[in-house]
Amino acid sequence: MRLVSETILRIAVPSPLFRLFDYLPPREITAPLHPGVRVQVPFGRSRTVGILVATSRSSEIDPARLKRVHAVLDTEPLLPADILAMAQWAAAYYQHPLGEVLAGCLPVALRGDQSAEVRGTTVWCLTHTGIEATTADCTRAPQQARALEFLQHHPDGCSREQLNEAGIGPHILRALSARGWLETRTRAATLIASSAVPSAAPSLNPAQAAAVDAITAARDQYQSFLLDGVTGSGKTEVYLQAIAACLAADRQALVIVPEIGLTPQLLTRFRQRLGIEPAVLHSGMNESDRLNAWLAARAGTARLILGTRSAAWVPLAQPGLFIVDEEHDASLKQQEGFRYSARDLLVWRAHRDGVPIVLGSATPSLESLHNARQGRYRHLSLPERAGVASAPSLRLLDVRNQKLDEGLSPALLAHMRKHLDQGGQVLLFLNRRGFAPTLLCHACGWVAECRRCDAHLTLHQRHRLLRCHHCGSQQPIPVQCPTCGCADLRPLGAGTERVEQALERNFPAVPQVRIDRDSTRRKGRLEDLLAQATRGDARILLGTQMLAKGHHFPGVTLVGIMEADQGLFSADFRAGERLAQMVIQVAGRSGRAERPGEVLIQTHHPDHPLLLQLVAAGYPAFAVAALAEREAAGLPPFSNLALLRAEATDARAPEQFLYAASADLDTRTLTGIERWGPVPSPMERRAGRTRAQLLLVARDRKRLQRLLAEWVPQLSNLKSARKVRWSIDVDPVDLF
């Protein structure tokens, strides 16, 4: 350690190394630099952009050997103290290099040396010819006609997002531009377009009112709330009124949702009810819009920010309230690279910023319920459906020995007929896209398997392809069995594409929509199909989890869950929790209006305790039992996990690395920590790589954290680490 006359700048540089790098300030700068500014530094043979984390008077490196920062990119800190602190906490907690954590929390547009200024947005405007054109000019192109009409109603032009929301995709824009009707202009970004007058708030039921009161009473202080409300109980209304109170107190509110798909409908409600335009942050936006929203949040001009996971990192000038919707959703945890939980991060941040945070769900995670029980979170229950809606009734359909028509039992078909005859809509849930999950040779029993994964290929009949749902590889459907040559290859099992055919056969006169990743690939298609479903144009709604998350279909009176059995016998200890959440979430799509809903669950295991309990007593009772089970088994939330994963094309390298990592553990204090493995991953081969894992389980979080902090940063020094791709996942949401 040497004292030097100049200030030493400790810089976080995006690199896989678990350390900061010391630099000297540029010569021309004499004013003190504050943590949070970006600096351009020489790094290795190139230059890179890092963030000043701290200043110091001493360095462990000979000051004569320290390099100087090339340039300071910001005049004031780009990242405020709370975000810097959160990054440091998260880097330590999730065992990820700080430089990468910090780079990742900036909008892409600021990861280089660009200035942190609001950029003009590109808008699409009609040209003079475009304004004068009529839809009669494009009778043979109805999509163009619709786009033309839409743009004629927006004389100031539309942003790409507006056009996307309206279902107008890039190919239509190109077509209109080619006709000389359309051009792009750059408009100075107006950050907050004030919109209509806020509509009146509906009256709250007592539970909602109590929740709003509790949240608003916690103003300017940290408090975590678990808003545990059955579907249809009016959680969103609680959010809205809590947000309104926060905005009225001149504070900003930040709302996180698990998926981009859930933002449009929340946006609409926020606009209508609060009369302001929320700033939106998600990965589907272009860089400059995202930058503008980020800067507006940081400057405090955006009062309400709505975003997905990464929005947990957005700086706020006057934070006042955090909300995490669907807090149980696994997508809130990043599953690659820097594996952080946006929910847990935001709880930490709420504590740091001294603001209340609301975690909302109809099916809270067992972790959050446990925290509520322990008194760490305040439990706010909304036990009743708001308004006139009554709770749906759940029932199991035993399909053993039943003749199934592409997975549909006679009883389910009969109930569907009854509800359709009575004018209701039917929602069928099957979490399996494609035509069939297996293609089998009838003569020899050969099964089409992915060459690169331990998985069957899924038959996609419409696209005439076999696709691997794990690595994405695809191939044409073979005309004959590669083993015996027989042409009689048969699809086995039913995916949504196949069920769709069966439904067309059984209900030829009933309009239906299928909503899954394949049917919604085209831009605007999802919105289109959801609109058909909501308006009631489609009477049978068939879909995967895309259909089950958050969307409201007031006309649905019957929900059929075609297969509940996948989650009953999984190797993952969270499978039961996921299944229960899925069933309740799907069930919640029905009976929102005056008609009570009916939910039928097809199963081959009608005596399974999990299903029986869920149907008889609902999610809270299930959660109580599941928590008791977890406690007995010493699993989260009663223990803490860290999973070391390794993969490589070389089949033996992952285990070699994990054994070396495990041997290294032997030299450390392991009191209170259990080691499971190394073992092959549940799917051992994926995308051509062999995968293995080593799990650490500890009752005491601090002990585990201490061990990880010593152990993980030097794993890359192991010789065997060079042959594998490895990662550490703290609090993993799945063990695959």
Binding site: F435, L439, L440, C441, H442, A443, C444, G445, L459, Q461, R464, P476, I477, P478, V479, Q480, C486, A487, D488, L489, R490, P491
Partner: protein, 109 residues
């Protein structure tokens, strides 16, 4: 034995169950029907009556035109090979996989 042991069967009979046609995922039509065979054959130096039903599989586009013309009681001559009806080991049932199907007119009988 040959490198590729013989597997040829020629048989005549009446169609007793109309063909049902599926299409394989790759687009190959696969038709399945039964014929009833009745004949007099020599055995142990004596003549005897033979009567049985046999399942026929006709795969591929080339056979579709003739399959489309079959009706109940159509007299047919089918030439093909024998193969197991399914992959499960307990299935010892065999089916005749047609390579050619000829509808017989009275002159052929």
């Amino acid at each position: 034995m040959n490198e590729n042991p013989a597997n040829v069967l020629v048989i005549e009979g009446l169609v007793v169950q109309l063909p049902e046609t599926r299409v394989s995922p790759a687009g190959i039509p696969i038709s399945r029907f039964n014929i009833e065979h009745q004949s007099v054959c020599a055995e142990a130096g004596m003549s005897r009556e033979v009567r049985f039903k046999l399942g026929i599989v006709a795969s591929g586009k080339d056979l579709q035109s003739v399959v489309g013309m079959l009706s109940t009681d159509s007299p047919v001559r089918v030439q093909g090979f024998m193969a197991r009806a399914g992959y499960r080991s307990d299935e010892n049932r065999l089916l005749l996989h047609a390579q050619s199907i000829q509808i017989l007119n009275d002159a052929d009988r």
